[in-house]
């Protein structure tokens, strides 16, 4: 199919109106255009470019929560002081999306709505109880990001709904978090296996935990068994629970057996970093660089 029109929207209303008429949104194009070329999905017949909608970009602190506009770029998120301090796992994830060229234009909204099982930002968002605001001509609805994903590349959003914002509850002080992935390359990579861990501590003791898996199931999702084990102080058991919950595919990047074996390793590392951060240790963002060693 050939693209017959591309409208550059000047307002969100205009974009939503175009979507109601059948146009599909493009922001940074880093998934949409590449996907079209790889044959995943042809470019839509009609496009509405939303990249100029400044009202949908930016990070705002509200009482107890942080609102992130759908058009906020990965570069902005990865360098935002509030995200770095309070939502560290999200900064870990945003900092390793694509390359600096991807992060300069790719948006969190695109990452979420592309709904890849290997998406970097999904695990942190799910663990932080993020909600997504979907807007259409008939209004705006909010739902948990955890309920958004229905399968690889699929969400429950209607085709005319535009993701406009994400809202994340700020975890309590004494919480540390980490997103870590297995990768073959430092840039232009997506998770081979990814794990998010969030841990709240009271002194030395872990009191509450969240764990989510990436590229290990048809969607990013939490692993309650691993959360219970980690909250019990049993990181080893939690890592085993992650591996047990994994239902990975075999593809050109890794076999299912390899992914499952690595799931426990990455989970253990992510949990260790989350707990260390909760206790006040400084582990630089992205956490992945801990395992990069020297570049030479």
């Amino acid at each position: 199919m050939t693209v017959t029109s591309l409208l550059v929207a000047k307002t969100t209303d205009e974009a939503v109106e175009a979507m109601a008429e059948g146009a599909r949104p493009v922001a940074g194009g880093t998934d949409l255009v590449v996907g079209a070329r790889q044959g995943k999905a042809a470019l839509p017949d009609r496009l509405v470019a939303i990249h100029r909608l400044e009202e949908l970009a930016g990070i705002a602190s509200r009482e107890g929560s942080i609102a992130i506009g759908a058009l906020t770029t990965h570069a902005t998120i990865a360098s935002d002081p509030l995200v770095l301090e309070r939502l560290t796992a999200l900064a870990d994830a945003s900092a390793i999306v694509g390359s600096h060229a991807t992060r300069a234009w790719g948006t969190i909204g695109g990452n979420v709505m592309n709904a890849s099982p290997a998406m970097e930002t999904g695990g942190p968002l799910v663990c932080f109880d993020a909600t997504a605001s979907l807007r259409s001509r008939s209004g705006t609805r909010s739902l948990a990001v955890a309920d958004l994903f229905t399968g690889p590349g699929a969400t429950i959003a209607d085709p005319d709904e535009l993701l406009v914002a994400l809202e994340v509850r700020v975890p309590r002080v004494g919480t540390g978090s980490c997103y870590l992935r297995l990768e073959y390359r430092r840039q232009m990579e997506i998770a081979v296996v990814g794990v998010t861990a969030v841990a709240s501590v009271d002194g030395e003791r872990v009191t509450d935990a969240r764990v989510a898996i990436t590229a290990l199931a048809p969607t990013v999702r939490r692993v309650p068994e691993a959360e219970a084990a980690l909250a019990w102080g049993d990181a080893e058991g939690a890592a085993a629970a992650v591996a047990a919950a994994a239902a990975p595919i075999s593809d050109v990047r890794a076999s299912d057996r390899y992914r499952r074996a690595m799931a426990a390793v990455i989970a253990r590392r992510a949990m260790d970093v989350a707990v260390a951060r909760a206790r006040g240790d400084v582990v630089p963002v992205p956490a992945n660089q801990r395992y990069w060693g020297s570049a030479r």
Partner: protein, 156 residues
Amino acid sequence: MKVPATLDVNGVRYPIELAPNTSLLVAVRDAIGLTGSKEGCDDSECGACMMLLDDRPVNSCSYLALQAEGVEITTVEGLADGDELHPLQAAFLAESGVQCGFCTPGMLVSATALLRANPTPTEDEARIALSGNLCRCTGYDGIVKAVLRVSADSST
């Protein structure tokens, strides 16, 4: 069906006509005729097509040209000042950062973006920033040395 558009490349405004699905890379190479930017993978893996949009790097093969209207586009042709090479270009020559040359335009643009964001990168930072640009000849050593040479020159 083509639509009229104006792209501002290296300070020159080019009125052209484009199909809406045309990538920025194809627009700049084929419609405008600036062939310095290369199509390597056409898949955002290799970085050979990298350009700057208002100082921010973009893989132009995966960016729709019509979205680049109204911003300043810089390609490798825009780095030199007349016959005066950009310091990065001179350093690439001095450090043997070029062999076949296919990755070089993207490398230069990527390194330009890096140095604008971080004028004094460590070697690790330089290598990681350039990891989105593939080179199949040099082994990267000359390229990294060139970037660090420019960084050192500008900080003294």
